[in-house]
Amino acid sequence: MGMAQANIRNFCIIAHIDHGKSTLADRILEYTGALTAREMEDQVLDSMDLERERGITIKLQAVRLQYKAKDGQTYTLNLIDTPGHVDFTYEVSRSLAACEGALLIVDAAQGIEAQTLANVYLALENDLEIIPVINKIDLPSAEPERVKQEIEDVIGLDASDAVLASAKSGIGIEEVLEAIVKKIPAPKGEPEEPLQCLIFDSFYDIYKGAISYVRVVQGSVKKGSKIQMMSTGRTFEVTEVGVFAPAPRQVQELSTGEVGFIVASIKNVKDTRVGDTITNADRPAAEPLAGYRQVTPMVYCGLYPVEGADYEDLRDALDKLRLNDASLIYEPETSVALGFGFRCGFLGLLHMEIIQERLEREFDLDLITTAPNVIYRVNQTDGEVVLVDNPTKLPPNQKIESIEEPYVKASIMVPSDYVGAVMELCQEKRGLFTNMDYITNQRVMLVYELPLAEIIFDFFDQLKSRTKGYASLDYELIGYRASELVKLDILLNGDLIDAFSIIVHRDRAYHRGRALAEKLRDLIPRQMFEVPIQAVIGNKVIARETIKAIRKNVLAKCYGGDISRKRKLLEKQKEGKKRMKQVGSVEIPQEAFMAVLSIDQ
């Protein structure tokens, strides 16, 4: 192992949202001189606007830093960022595979959260060295000793030499860096062996083509190298290799243990599939690297342009987003009510919201999103098993033998005061109690088996509001189970609006049908004629509401001095309606298609 390789440390940061990951990353960048405080835009790693607004990290980023340690040697540190939300567990596993160590940041006042725990277990599975960092120790409510104990009790990690830090006040930053250098092992691997590079992310640049973010596991790669993608066998010539410091910077070579990017005039992002192994074309490695577990979308919804003419633009936008987000899947579908659109699969609700917002913001599209649903497994009377990703595709009743829905094991960490509230919520959401553990006197881990459909419905919002934001949730799919499920349809003006159809548990159908009809009555503005709303199961009407006709919308006066203003008023009114979808003769606002998500509040 060369000197350079011995002084490389690759690490990531595991933290719950708000526990201070981005701030700590910023301080590390600042301390190592990668950026001065002045040129540093707050929280450099979260580069997408959306990430900054929501305070979460979605896409992976990698930064190379130089650190002169107390032992007098200079180390190259590669910080690979990880997302902190349950939807992105998949992305976390990607960054973990590129590291030898992880900083586990825990808020000194709040302790470990469910999601953090899940990611720590992932890191342990990947044999990562974990350095506990207790952050925000200067808060009046900080209890570092209690949190240390919690780390030992819950995770089984030795927390006796956990770093006590306050990223905000710059306390403990040097200690963190020293711990990285001392505790995290240098990357293994032989520079002389055939190249093996793990693609842990890829990004499409309109000038350079697909850019692969890689970790070199063995061998080396430089400009001019002939490389081969091991999954497809396609070969390319490298035009550029470089690192992010944090701005992209070309380097001579990426050698064993290093993290950086490779540009090779790759036109099609499919050729830089995340998880694939890059090797030498003329001296290929015998085996590809382990890669990643296949990501499975859990949540589906329909995405439709408000203006039918924008369909092609929507397709282009989805294609572009997919270049950087392999977990997004979509295929064309048609709705009677909404016309041409796409059925899209997401990792979770947050992922769905983010994609939707990015489509609207970055591509300036007006979209209708239908209520999200899970994939149902329908056992037909003829013995065939059908997967249903859209309620409207549910086979007719007489063909259904049984319907199964996905269940998850949900782990909820909550202060003991709220245990009752959480149990009640889980019960309401058809949960089956499995376990309850007191982590400390004040903190409880509840485990329930819940239908995923209930989780994506409004579980997370309810959990947050009923525990004043103190509960944290993690879940994993545990399989399919038969449930008493029915399809609930909505008729507007006598016409079935397929985009409103949902699959619900039989016991909930009546309540949800009535609530949905009421909600739609409030959300859909009055039209020039009366619009009846009916909620229907099969042929049975279970709820009925009416949207009254507009009786008055008139400009009482319009004289010489009023004309401009009144014209603008009408233009504004028209503009407002443009954001609505004309279904038959009824104009429906976008939010109505998501109404079902808010009917239990």
Partner: protein, 394 residues
């Protein structure tokens, strides 16, 4: 050097008089209190303004109508009003002048004053009556009494003014159907030639809007407002009035010509602070600040402009439809297309749209002229909107 622009025949002159004794709760026009001295100076400024604008316009044979609006024009000393009228005649000519209106509030007009105005050429009076119930007048912030209304009408008769309009408001919080019916009947007893009935609308920034926002006052239920409007249409029809615009009713031949020019999207020149003018595709207002206005004119500066816009022919044509559809006789789409030089495409868009709306019973359409059906008068915004913007809707 400016080119002299022609004004379309039938054009009108609007004079804004921004003085009021007090501000009404619902009013969003530019007005304020002023001493008699200030009022005279303002009139002088208007006269100077008319003179300076003279060489910019080719008024052909002069305006057809003049309208003193406000504010409360009856607060202007009559001799000042006469001097303004003289200046207009002198500057633009008076061969075609057929209607000169002055707006007035009850309690601000006397017989001798009105006589002076009439001698100056005024032949139409528009009286802001609004309601006949003291509690509703108080709510609106109107300072006049029912007696003031009768006196004003008598004064008008003495001065020989027979072409009188009364403004009435419906939809006032607390106003009952009985109140409204009584107001209509008492108004009809005064034998006006013209009635404007306006739905009370809380304009942003007015005390009324503020009260509503803070929950200090309730609203008139929409269903009741609709019934009030329908009742007014019924009663006024019985009394021999013809509805010629969404809010305006007249005895045959007594339609307000000045306002008709607006709804035909004709040209007009406005003078006075905040007054609006429109010539062809250009529309502008003078700054809504009477001190600045008077100052500019007494020091020989250009009068500052408040807002200005130059419309595209398409937008102007859409406005012509928006305005024309306010008239019960509607608007001839083909004439609009021709007048604004629009292409076939706009014509066929409007034709398609009108045919669809006709099919739904919301408009009458004979292939060129489109007009609202009475059923859609009160929801006219929903229909007008469809004629704006380029794409026709289904």
């Amino acid at each position: 050097m400016r080119t002299v622009q022609p004004l379309k025949q039938g054009w009108g002159v609007y004079i804004h008089i921004p003085f009021c004794r007090s501000k009404c709760a619902y009013c969003d026009f530019y007005s304020h209190r002023a001493s008699e001295q200030e009022r005279r100076e303002y009139a002088q400024a208007v006269i100077r303004h008319i003179a300076t604008e003279a060489n910019k316009w080719d008024g052909a044979q002069g305006p057809t109508t003049i309208f003193f609006g406000g504010g409360t024009p009856s607060l202007l000393p009559p001799e000042s009003g006469r001097a303004i009228l003289e200046q207009i005649r002198h500057t633009f000519g008076d061969h075609l002048l057929s209607e000169i209106t002055i707006e007035a509030n009850p309690g601000t007009v006397t017989g001798p004053d009105l006589l002076q105005w009439v001698r100056g050429g005024v032949n139409r009076l528009s009286l802001g009556v609004q309601a006949f119930q003291p509690r509703l007048l108080a709510f609106l912030g109107r300072k006049h009494s029912i007696e003031d209304v009768r006196e004003a009408i008598n004064a008008a008769k003495q001065a020989g003014l027979l072409n009188v309009n009364l403004d009435l408001i419906y939809g006032i919080p607390g106003q009952s159907m009985e109140d409204w019916r009584l107001s209509l009947e008492l108004a009809l007893d005064l034998e006006p030639a013209h009635l404007s009935i306006y739905n009370l609308k809380p304009e942003a920034g007015t005390p009324l809007a503020l009260w509503l926002e803070r929950g200090l006052t309730g609203v008139c239920p929409e269903d009741l407002e609709v019934e009030m409007y329908e009742e007014a249409r019924r009663l006024l029809h019985l009394a021999g009035f013809e509805q010629y615009e969404l809010s305006n009713f007249a005895r045959p031949g007594r339609e307000c010509r000045h306002n008709l020019n607006y709804w035909h999207r004709g040209d007009y020149l406005g003078f006075g602070s905040s007054a609006a003018s429109a010539v062809g595709l250009r529309r502008w207002t003078w700054a809504a600040d009477s001190r600045q206005y008077v100052g500019a004119l007494s020091s020989g500066c250009d009068v500052p402009i408040g807002d200005e816009e130059i419309l595209t022919p398409v937008v102007a044509a859409e406005e012509a439809v928006m305005l024309g559809l306010r008239l019960t006789k509607g608007v001839n789409l083909q004439e609009v297309i021709r007048e604004y030089g629009l292409g076939e495409r706009q014509g066929s868009n409007w034709h398609k749209l009108s045919t669809i709306l006709h099919g739904k019973g919301w408009v009458d359409y004979d292939g060129s002229r489109v007009k609202l059906t009475p059923e859609s008068y009160l929801i006219s915004n929903e229909i007008l909107e469809k004629y704006l913007g380029e794409e026709p809707e289904n």
